[in-house]
Every structure is written in C-alpha cells, then in structure tokens.
C-alpha cells in the first residue's frame, strides 16, 4: 500500500491506529478511580506526544541515517515557532499558512547552518551545531528582541494587524487559532460510563501530520537516498574514495530534519500561540537526542516511542508525590513503608530528570539500539526458548 512493502504498511497502520485511537488508549482508567492520574488522554499532553514525535522522527533522519549528531536541533524548532506566531500576528489565525511558513523558514535556516556545519564531521560537527544553536538562543534573548520579544516570549496581542482576519473578536478578546474555521482548541467530550474521552481538533490535526511525516520518513528510509545516507554512516571515507561527493546528501538530510523540527515548532505554536527563546536552548536539543536514542536511533518507530515515553513519564512521574507513594505502599508495615518511600522519593516528582538521566545512561551502555532493540531481544529470547523446546522434542522423537 502507498508504495510500501507489507512490513512497512503494517507498521504504518499500527501507528495510524495508535495515534487515531489515542484518546481511548491513553485513557484506560475511569475518571474517578485511583489510577486516573495515569491517564494521559487529555489534549495538551497528547498534542505534545505527537509534536515531539514529529521532532524526533526528523532528528532521526539526520542522526539515525547519517550518524551526524547534531546538538542544535532545538534552534529549528524555535525558529519554526517564531515564524508561526508571526504569521498569526500579521496574516490570519489560520494554521495552514503559519505551518507552511515555519517549515520554509526553518528549512532555509537549516540550509544555512547545515552548509557551514557539514564541512566538518564527528565531534566538530556536534560542537558547530551546538555553537550555532547557542548563538541563535543568545541572539533571540538579546538583540533580536524586536522579533522575538526577548525573555517574555512572542505573544499575540489585540492590536496585531492580522490582514486576513480580525485583530480582536467581537467580545474584545484575541482570536484563537483555527483550521478554516475549526478552532484548534475545540474539544469534543464523550462520556462513556465512568470514562470520559476527549477528542481535540488540534490533536487530530497534529496526528494526521504525524502520520504524513512518518510515512515520508519510511519512504526516505527505503529510498536510494536513504541507502546513500546509511552508506555515509557506515564509512564516509569509502564513499569519498569511490569518487562520490557525500555533501549534497548529508546536507539534504540536514535540511529535511530541520524542516521536520520547524514543522514541530509551527504545530506547537498553532496549539498554543506563543514562542519563547528557551525552546532553542541546547538542553532542549539534548532532549530530542534523548528521545531518539531512548527509542532507538536508526529505526523507524523508535523516535516516536522515545518521544512518547519521555513525555508520558515526564508528565506522570512529576505528578506522583510522597502522599501518593504512601497510599501505594500502605499495605507494608510502617517502618518499611517509610523506608520504601524514602528510597523512591528522589526519583519522582521533581526528580524525574534524575530517573531520565539514569535510564538514558543505562540505555546507552547496555542497549545501544534503545527500546526497539530491547523489544527485539525479548522477542528473540521468547522465540529462542520456544525453538529450544521444539528442537528438544525433535531430538527425542527419532529415539522413540
């Protein structure tokens, strides 16, 4: 289907089902139950899942295929956000031109940075991208204040021109982002027994774009272009010796992944029309690196899994506090209960980053292929055991 082989089609369909049914899947617990805090099916969080999914897919096209580790990808996300918000300020509240502009601008930006940075490879490339991103971040905070509004962040105001729309709605408030009249924040709630499912217009827009982005990334992975990028990763010198100039390929990959980041930034601004410089900081770039590695760099589904995993636990883990822990372990004797809570305490709530850091280190040390490799190993182990049983019985049969 769509020019994909069976395996990829199945993968795409699985992702499609998962994203489109996410409001159900992420809301497994009834609203009033004690487990309701593990529900992730509210619009804000679901939007973040898919937006960071897109960001990570894009990053994976660069890092997973070519092996070039960029530590400055958040800059493109920031640029995308800024251009989208400017579109909302100047043109109209429709998200389509905003997203288009954010993709184009971040693509151009990536072309510029990539052209310079890709003259070097390895650690130097990482540091060059890091330097460019920090430069953009510092500029956004200081000199570019007229464009970025500095520390406050770029926001919509009532006296923005909005040529094709209205500056303010009839009741004097700022208009909301929409897709040809469908408001991004409009949410349809469905109560089904004790469950409450929320279907948000903005989420579905993001989800559809995620599917398109995922499809595109499958096509890139399977194309001759993707093959060339993988060849660059495995041995760039050999490519050069065969007389091939790898620069256009790596540059194309860099620009594509920059455009993905810009798309994510544009979507982020479409869901919540403000943009701040802290989105461009290098630790934000580090986050997308974490997502991609944690999920599995170089695999198709890995980055999406990693983004979902990190964003889910970031939200859920930070909500658990000592009180919740005590209620969980209340079945234990008092002293033991306090001890267990004391042990777990540093890792939850505000300590979520500690958990993330440890997890990330463990993944880099033991599971370089990320969650995907972990899944594959488990699958192999299960299969291997089955095969062993089979072969064991097979050796027995002839003897009988």
């Amino acid at each position: 289907m769509f020019g994909l082989d069976n395996k990829d089609t199945r993968l795409l369909l699985v992702v499609a089902v998962l994203t489109l049914c996410a409001p159900f899947i992420l809301n497994p617990f009834p609203t009033d139950s004690a487990m309701a805090q593990f529900n992730a099916g509210y619009p804000d969080l679901m939007q973040r899942f898919v937006i960071f999914g897109i960001f990570a897919i894009g990053f994976n096209i660069l890092f997973g295929l070519t092996g070039y580790l960029s530590f400055g990808h958040a800059a493109f996300l920031g640029v995308g956000s800024y251009s989208a918000v400017w579109m909302f300020k100047l043109l109209s509240m429709n998200v389509v031109p905003a997203i288009l502009l954010s993709v184009v601008i971040s693509g151009l930006f990536a072309l510029l940075i990539g052209f310079v940075s890709l003259r070097r490879s390895g650690i130097y490339f990482s540091i060059l991208t890091l330097a460019f991103a920090q430069m953009s971040f510092n500029l956004a905070y200081s000199v570019l204040t007229p464009i970025t509004n500095g520390e406050t962040g770029l926001q919509l105001t009532l006296d923005d021109p909005r040529v094709l729309g209205v500056s303010a709605t009839a009741d004097g408030s700022i208009p909301v982002t929409n897709l040809f009249g469908m408001e991004m924040r409009s949410t349809f709630e469905m109560a089904l027994g004790p469950w409450a499912f929320q279907f948000n217009a903005g989420y579905y827009l993001c989800a559809l774009i995620l599917l398109a982005a995922f499809y595109l990334s499958i096509r890139i992975f399977r194309s001759p272009f993707g093959m060339m990028l993988r060849a660059v990763k495995s041995n760039q010198q050999r490519m050069n010796y065969t007389g091939l100039n790898t620069k256009p390929y790596t540059l194309a990959a860099f620009v594509i992944s920059g455009m993905y980041a810009g798309l994510a930034g544009g979507l982020m601004a479409s869901m919540d029309p403000l943009a701040g410089a802290e989105r461009m900081q290098w630790t934000a770039s580090g986050e997308v690196v974490l997502m991609t590695i944690l999920g599995g760099a170089g695999t198709l589904i890995g980055p999406v899994l990693g983004a979902g995993f990190i964003k889910y636990f970031e939200n859920i883990f930070s909500k658990i506090n000592d009180h919740v822990l005590h209620s969980w372990f209340s079945f234990m004797p008092d002293g033991l209960e306090d001890f267990v809570v004391f042990i777990i305490h540093p890792f939850i709530g505000k300590g979520w980053h500690l958990t993330l850091g440890i997890l990330f280190m463990l993944v880099v040390v033991f599971l370089p292929g990320g969650l995907v490799e972990g899944g594959q190993r488990i699958a192999k182990w299960v299969k291997g055991r089955k095969n062993k049983d089979d072969s064991a019985s097979a050796t027995k049969t002839p003897a009988e």
Partner: protein, 340 residues
C-alpha cells in the same frame, strides 16, 4: 587606556575559568581520547564542595546565655558554631571566614575520588566506542550529577562569600600609574589559575610520571609495549583533570553563586574553547581560554556594542565557527590529530 586595561582584567577572570575547565577537558581527551560532556558537572560539584565546607564549618549549637536577656526577661539563646567553641571566637571566626580557600583542601581528594570512580566505573567501557556514544553517555551522567546536586542543595543559587580580607576592591591601576579599581577576589582567582596551570604543566614536563603520560599521549601503544601500565596512569590523569575542574569551581563560588546548572552553562563554552585551542593541545586550551575570555570582555564594551549590537553574546561562537572552518586543527592542535 584605562578602559582597555579594565576589559583585559575582566577577561582574565572569566578566561581563567575557561582555561582551567578546558585544560581538564583536554587532559582527558588527550590521554584517554574521551569526549567528556560531564566535565561541566565536575566544575559544578567542585563549587558545591565549597558550599558544603562552608555549611560544615557553620554547624552550630545553641546555648542559653544567662547574661543576655530578651525583652521579656528570658535568657537569650545564643548560637555558637562548633569551630568557634573549639578554637576560640577569633581563630574560629577566621576559619569560618576562610571557608572557600579551606574548601580547596577538602575538594582535592573528593574530586580525585569522583574522577577515579567515574573513569573506572563508566568511561573505561567507552574507549572503543564512537565519540557520539561517549558524548551521549557523559551527557546522561551530567544530567544525573546535576539532579543529585539539585536534590541535596535545592534549585536556588547559594551565596558563598569570599574571605573578608579578599572581598574588597584594589587599585590595580597603581601599577600602571592610573586608577583602576577591581575586586580582589577576581585577581586572586587569576593568580590561582595561573598557579594551577603552571603546576599541571611542570608536573607533565619535569616528572617521570609526566613524561610517561606525555609519551602515552603521543603513542599509547608503543608505551604499552614497553611494559608500562599506561591505563593506570591515564586513570590518575583523569582524577587530576577532575580535580582541576573542581578547584576551578571551588574558587569560582564567590564570583558567581553556585547553582545546579552552572556546569551546563560553562560546558558549552569550554568545549568551544577546547576546539578553538585545538583538541588534545594543552597550551592551546589555556591560550584559547584566556583569549576568548578577553575577547568576550572587549565585546561587551559599550563602544563596541553600539557598532555591532549583540556581539558580546555571540563573539565566542563566531570565533569558534571561523576557526573551525579555516583552521581545522585549531590554534595549536597537532597536525593530523582529530583533523577530519
């Protein structure tokens, strides 16, 4: 003239911090070939050593003083720190006052120990893996270290004062016949870093241990073939590099109140410094550290900012990008080392 001198001074204290961190980074890279993204975290831990020492020295107990009464006529509780009660108020007060310099003694063994544990426990397993993997795992470690510090010390910057005697300003200009007032502690910091850098260089240059390490940096395999346990020496060098970063952090606390993410802030800049100086080149790292610190100070002069607004924010990165593109091995890098 005064303005120029002042900017050079301004650049020197920041430059000393850059130079010290970059020196440690280069020691690690030159010996073990590992790109250590956790080096900023070591700097931060050093700073928190100073905080810890100060807190320990300030530990106190309460005594009821019958001679002093509060307005209700009850005897007043007076806090006395243990140090003061042991050494008498004058000596004890002086010890508390000099907490930051005392922290140096405390920080050296701790940082060396942390360095050993880090190298033996984690980094050892990453020699043979790609640079990208090394960056990733040390980046993860940096996050963990900074979160641990945040857990124990909180997220707010902690003010740590320099000793009273060194906290004023001095007229540096007197040397040149003009008047330039400059904080004493920053001058102390500069000389401290010069001593440390000089110490490291003479250690490498004039001791047998240093000679072996230099030989190992040049050709690890041959030194190994000569029957020298080069790995162990490199581990020790890692500990020393960690101690250098830690000391830079200890002494930096009065200049900038330590907080848990100060390491990350310095890390990016010190990497840029290392790259500008040339990866694996110790003099390059020191030179580039001071040079970039001074350049940054000059760029933040109002006269220059009015011509090129915002230049003070990006000057270091601009220099780094130009150097990386025009002179791949940095200012003083060895030919053929990490040039691709």
């Amino acid at each position: 003239m005064d303005a120029i001198l002042l900017q050079i001074l301004n650049g020197l204290d920041k430059g000393s911090a850059y130079a010290l961190i970059a020196l440690g980074l280069t020691l690690i890279f030159g010996t073990l070939g590992v790109v250590n993204f956790a080096h900023g975290a070591l700097f931060m831990i050093g700073a928190f050593c100073a905080v810890t020492v100060q807190r320990i020295l300030n530990l106190s107990y309460e005594v009821v003083d019958e001679t002093q009464k509060d307005f209700l006529g009850n005897p007043l509780k007076v806090k006395t720190s243990y140090v003061e009660s042991w050494f008498g108020p004058e000596m004890g007060g002086a010890i508390i006052d000099w907490a930051v310099p005392i922290a140096i003694l405390f920080a050296i063994p701790i940082m060396i120990l942390i360095g050993f544990v880090m190298e033996r426990g984690l980094i050892k397993h990453f020699y043979k893996r790609e640079h990208a993997d090394q960056i990733l795992v040390t980046f993860g470690l940096a996050i963990v270290l900074q979160e641990v510090i945040k857990y124990f010390y909180g997220a707010n910057p902690i003010q740590t004062a320099s000793p009273e005697a060194l906290s004023g300003v001095a007229n540096v200009g007197a040397l040149f016949g003009t008047e330039i007032f400059y904080p004493v502690w920053r001058i102390v910091y500069f000389f401290f870093s010069v001593v440390i850098i000089g110490g490291i260089f003479s250690f490498l240059q004039f001791t047998t241990f240093g000679m072996v390490v230099r030989a190992g940096m040049a050709d690890r395999e041959t030194v190994g073939l000569l029957g020298i346990n080069i790995d162990r020496r490199f581990t020790i060098m890692f500990g020393i590099a960690a101690a250098v970063a830690g000391l830079a952090g200890v002494m930096y606390t009065p200049i900038n109140s330590p907080n848990y993410h100060m390491g990350m802030d310095f890390l990016v800049l010190s990497f840029v410094v290392v790259v500008v100086g040339g990866m694996g080149s110790l003099p390059g790292a020191v030179l580039a550290g001071f040079m970039l610190g001074i350049l940054e100070a000059f760029a933040s002069m109002n006269e220059i900012k009015s011509i090129l607004p915002g230049i003070d924010q990006i000057i270091i990165y601009v220099v780094a990008i130009i150097i990386l593109l025009t002179r791949p091995r940095g200012l003083m890098g060895r030919k053929g080392v990490m040039e691709e």
